[in-house]
Symmetry: C2
Subunit: 488 residues, 2 copies
């Protein structure tokens, strides 16, 4: 039974709004196991659409799917020094199995570099076996004390790409290629614009040479790290003896990359597009793009109206639209409207006896640009023919709106830590671009005093026209421009 | 690097043949964690095709996907008495997480009835919330001492459907519906005929009222339980307080079903169709349906031949065929032929300079009906146009061949345990149909003496024309016909 109380408005308490929306739009629910969530069909349907799109993009760039074990020997995790430091505090450990205590504890994968590169080592002999370009769709476990549905849970679903290459430049190229795949997916499918760039040493993946990231801005002005791509160098190949004979016949260590996005993206989608009425779905990811609600008072009206609703469904399905008829008898139309708005369906078609007589439908958009009417009375044939175009337009509008919202809260020309703090503490927060000397001490100080973190050293496309000359931390010259924000 | 030694012939050692084939066709590999396997891209590609087909069938019958937690509190597993007896010996237990000992141990799901029905209980209030028809694609863990790739591993991938209904007949109808979905999938996609029927009390799922099964016959005459569908009655709803208000306003317990198939099906496919040269793939599940091998000696021939090979690829892709060009330079054509035959690709197109000149191709089938040539020289255009039809024919042939093989080793009219034993012990084993009084003591005795188990009480479609009148165990009248076989 859907919970149809009004949501706490975003402006009042963004965090409460988010939690309520996720539960009431039936995206996910809390489970009996602390820190683990249940992804309900509506949320899972979004994730399936994300998976399908990403999977196609991975395959188009030459990657193949495989599956590696859930359990990893503790000794594997311990081999790469930075890796174990990063992940050990979050491990879930299996100590007993089959009624006996295990000789060596096994950990539930927090990520799979170690076990995957140990297998690559078995499969690779010569440069001819390279590159290996693999991906797996899997669940992973990182024990969390403070959890939030989709954003931070002990178990989550993700994909992890893992590759091995014969040279450093090839690995770097792959790392960047997959970052770009992520950026495009987030832009074109989630309608969520991101700033891409390099992580600082303190923020990079435990075990990586370099980490690249996609940083999205949520409606509360906080950053969401939406996906990362790591150049792992030879850190893991050296620990797992992943070597190959190169073209000169010399034994060499391979170069690895790994990259991942997770169900966290569903949380990002919610916080990018949702409003006080509930979820707003980008049509390309919506499990249902159009809902058809038949409206009638008397039983004799019912048959004709419901029949027409299903005709509309067939016609739209033939045009490749994902459509559902809501012909439940125990709910009135108003309750149905609320439910599908809360669930974020982009377009609604209402059809009643009078519409039937006039061959017209009522078309309602979930959101509209300022000044436009949500509701339109349209000739049925014209309306149906226009749906695919309207969905594209809806998708485009969500992206434009998100880009505008981000740009409105991107601050450049900030030159002191005090000013940075004011910016990120103000309602609506935001991304603050400043100069940086590269001194980790400055980064540490800013994080401590402002709670903002260095999100990334942005790629050229996202840099200021006239980059800052001084480091935000004091008198040193700036070596690079960086972006600061409070983050999820 | 592919291992191209010849396989041990099936007739010599079926089990060695299977293990070698799985490794050398690069379907899967042993992992560093005892009992867990790595599914390599070729094997995973088959599984992905199985998933896609099954998922479509589940959705067409009204089911939605969702995702439930990997970890289940030990106390949940313990609630249903038969359930815990069945699964406790196989559990993997997490005792520590986040650096601390857990207050209550968590088990890695061996199956998810308990946690799923605890969630259903939260979501269901009224008969209007029923039925719930859900499915999840997930990994599960059942600790095994003796493991075999795909057939029996501690971790495996599967889908588990879980439903809740307002009445017993509806639950029974769902249980049977999904059994039929499985049967059709196995027949139409894996080209693996199965006998469907009811499990005896001793073989049913731990916690079920009734278990239905799909039993396939492997080439060594042993049975493979390929999928099961359970009517769970109210066993779980009573333990997890899954109640609803019925139409009369009375609180009632819901009726559940669950049903699953796993990566074990890949093992079933191998043992149904493989031969001494390697794997044989049903075209509908083959990651690659047609491989194109360009053949050339001199560099000046290479360009034209490889170009034509890619033209052929494009044309076949446009016709919806999954095709790959093997243009690797470091392997000779013979090595490529062996590799793709070992991997089971249904059709191979060879093209050399002379074929080019004559607008012809060489088309080779992986297997052919007795007496037909494997190899044909065909006009290129005609050959390409015929490929989709040839793939269908290949699919049909595999099913026919498998049905014939099964029928040839299905024995009816067996009336004594001694005769049953002779049958199942003979080379090639088989399915033995006999009468049964329903006495569990007879079942126990046969299992002990012959190592054959009661596979199922077959559905009407699979029963003998004149069913046996006496129970195999002695003088009692037969109450039902049953099928015995040694099994995986």
């Amino acid at each position: 039974m859907a919970d149809d109380r009004k949501l706490t408005p975003r402006a009042e308490d963004f965090s409460a709004w988010y939690n309520e929306l996720v539960l009431r739009a039936e995206l996910a629910d809390h489970s009996p196991v602390r820190g683990s969530m249940v992804i309900r069909p509506w949320g899972y349907g979004i994730w399936e659409n994300m998976q399908r799109a990403l999977d196609d993009m991975f395959k188009a760039t030459g990657h193949e799917n495989a599956y590696f074990p859930l359990l990893i020997p503790m000794s594997f995790i311990e081999r790469e020094k930075e890796h174990v430091e990063g992940f050990k505090p979050e491990l879930a450990v299996v100590t007993h199995a089959g009624g006996k205590e295990l000789e060596e504890p096994l950990v539930i994968r927090p990520t799979s570099e170690t076990v995957i590169y140990s297998m690559f080592a078995k499969w690779v002999q010569s440069y001819r076996d390279l590159p290996i370009l693999m991906n797996q769709w899997a669940n992973v476990m990182r024990w969390e004390l403070r959890t939030r549905l989709f954003l931070r849970t002990s178990e989550f679903l993700w994909q992890e790409g893992h590759t091995a290459h014969a040279s450093e430049p090839e690995a770097e190229e792959e790392t960047r290629r997959m970052l770009e795949v992520y950026r495009q997916f987030m832009q074109d499918w989630i309608a969520m614009p991101v700033v891409t760039g390099l992580k600082s040493e303190s923020e990079k993946f435990a075990g990586a040479l370099r980490t690249y990231t996609c940083e999205a801005m949520m409606q509360d002005g906080k950053a969401l790290q939406a996906g990362t791509s790591h150049n792992l160098g030879q850190n893991f190949s050296k620990q797992f003896e992943l070597t190959f004979q190169n073209e000169e016949g010399v034994e060499a260590f391979a170069w690895n990359t790994s990259w991942g996005v997770s169900t966290r993206l569903v949380g990002g989608l919610v916080m990018t597009h949702g409003d006080d009425d509930g979820l707003v779905l980008p049509p390309r990811l919506a499990p249902v793009q159009v809902v058809v609600v038949p409206i009638f008072r008397k039983e004799e009206e019912r048959t004709a109206v419901v029949e027409r609703a299903h005709q509309i469904r067939s016609r739209l399905q033939e045009a490749g639209v994902r459509v559902r008829v809501d012909d439940r008898d125990h709910l009135n139309p108003g309750a149905k409207f609320w439910e599908w708005e809360r669930k974020g369906v982009p377009l609604r078609i209402e059809i009643g006896p009078r519409d039937l007589a006039k061959n017209q439908v009522v078309l309602v958009r979930r959101v509209t640009p300022e000044g436009e009417d949500r509701k339109a009375f349209l000739d049925e044939n014209e309306a149906l023919a226009s749906i695919p175009g309207r969905l594209e337009e809806f998708q485009r509008y969500l992206l434009e709106r998100a880009v505008e919202a981000r740009e409105a809260r991107s601050y450049r020309g900030v030159t002191s830590i005090e000013e940075l703090q004011e910016r990120v503490d103000a309602p609506g927060g935001g991304f603050v671009y400043t100069g940086w000397s590269g001194d980790p001490e400055v980064e540490r100080r800013i994080q401590e005093t402002t709670k903002a973190t260095l999100r990334c050293i942005p790629d050229p496309a996202f840099r200021s026209e006239s980059p800052p000359e001084r480091c935000i931390g004091g008198d040193a010259p700036s070596k690079m421009e960086v972006v600061w924000a409070k983050a999820y």
